[in-house]
Symmetry: C2
Subunit: 346 residues, 2 copies
Amino acid sequence: MGLAAASSEHAPVAACGFAEATAVLRRLTADDLERVNETILDRMRSRAPMIPELAGHLLRAGGKRIRPMLTLAAARLFGYRGLEHVKLAAAVELIHGATLLHDDVVDGSALRRGAQTANVIWGNKESVLVGDYIFSRAFELMVSAGDLKVLQILSAASGVIAEGEVLQLSTQNNLDATFEMYLAVIEAKTAALFAAAAEAGAVIAGCSEEDAEALRRYGADLGVAYQLVDDALDYSGAEDALGKRVGDDFREGKMTLPVVLALARAEGEETAFWRRVIAEGRQDADDFDRARAIMRRAGAIEDTIGCARRYAETALASLQDVRGAKDEACLRALADLAAASTRRSN
Amino acid sequence: MGLAAASSEHAPVAACGFAEATAVLRRLTADDLERVNETILDRMRSRAPMIPELAGHLLRAGGKRIRPMLTLAAARLFGYRGLEHVKLAAAVELIHGATLLHDDVVDGSALRRGAQTANVIWGNKESVLVGDYIFSRAFELMVSAGDLKVLQILSAASGVIAEGEVLQLSTQNNLDATFEMYLAVIEAKTAALFAAAAEAGAVIAGCSEEDAEALRRYGADLGVAYQLVDDALDYSGAEDALGKRVGDDFREGKMTLPVVLALARAEGEETAFWRRVIAEGRQDADDFDRARAIMRRAGAIEDTIGCARRYAETALASLQDVRGAKDEACLRALADLAAASTRRSN
């Protein structure tokens, strides 16, 4: 069974919103997702009380759990009946969580998902060290799943993520950063974990190499689309819906695609404006509104979402290559997730 | 062949110094150690130029390479002929290096092994992210060695190390910290990696479970002895020999054994002194000299070294339990390392 059968031209992929698409996936994987949460809480026990406190704050703070759902859904897609995929999904979420902790220290962020960040509540030192702990526990968990091929996939991804974070640091405040450099950063810091999460679930289920590769490509392109939308929302989103402060990327001088596009299409004084606010980091209270106005005129947000849409379509095409799918509802849910990934508001 | 045969009462373990003992081990493992260095440099290549620069600074800065030598020597001890132990030894050194990078950020250290620290040269953000990268590459390397038992050993150790760092943070500036709490910290932050390094080398060589356990215990006790001496040297060492600033632990308010002992034996005004300098962190220019004088009177350094000596003897006893050793020179070198571990000046 393939997606071509499940969704012919006469039964197109649903045009539902992103929240709806993730809700379907969450229902499909509900039991396993509950086990993932239990596994995470169990692994965060420690003689150091600060560890479960800080980790609990981070992991309970209402993340969408998209990455672990990808692992769970990919395993289910290929008819997996074991429980090792729960460990892998938990490891994936822990790698993501550790990255967030260190990110917030590096960016000096004060708010995430509407809550104060751990670095503000507990401090930077604490966030660095507990992040290391979470990262280590993630590796222990994936080792306990006992599959060397999966270990290669996930350990390689974690290296790529860390490299992406370093690359991002070098593009920050750098007006020479190109679309290609931006893409390299988001492929590494975001898409690599989406790709590994999906591939790991497929591999633990024992699918063919071709199908594992298709899931990897699906995850990678979905990850790029997801990050592109994230970067657009930092300029176009509503403060409440985003759950973090709108304009964080702007204040940190990050060269995301909306800025890259607006700069490439700058008119008159605009180049000097971007130089001052991004390269020199000198920003006044109303500069963020001016940045948004320039982006509107330049079509920068629209084209960022357009770019995301092309990645989402490629992700969908990869799913259509899958030959050994055994769960139609799961295949459909993954397709809907990709299709809806550019229709999200948080 | 056992150590009892190699070193009978008539041929006691050599009373050489620590530098001499490590030099012997370094000669024995020279070819493999060279491969470890090559492997590390190879794994630090990256599209982000900052990564090889920062990692190169850290890893070339003249570390003693004791942990990777333990892995190499343990594998050799049991007659290992493959090359996977090189990957494991490199992974062990990388885990250690990543920990140092994050430690220096957390402690705000400016000097290590006589050189400026990476956080001073490149910055805190950079050190956090490159530390994550090094850590991830360490995992990739150990996965590539393809032995699940070894992966369990090393991934568990890295979790324990991170937990130890968090525990240490909670004992800092805390005059209620006991000897037991101090021991828990150094067992986790230092001894766990020594133990895993030795055990991993033994296991990859295919030794018996009993011998692997003996090597683990040897490494653990050697690690405690090593850290005890380190903590003594922070008060008794010479600035040049130590290659880092003497008194770092004091300035950071760390509750190491010399302080725990001096506080327990405090007379007159001394309790108030420790409260001010350690608990409240209020230190004058001549407080470090006063701390050293108090410690001399209380025998705190002497007894810290005495404690280290007992751990070193236990490490030696574990070596004597080894039944399947195939390399006498290696067995002797490991014994000498333990015996000499309390006779070091840096």
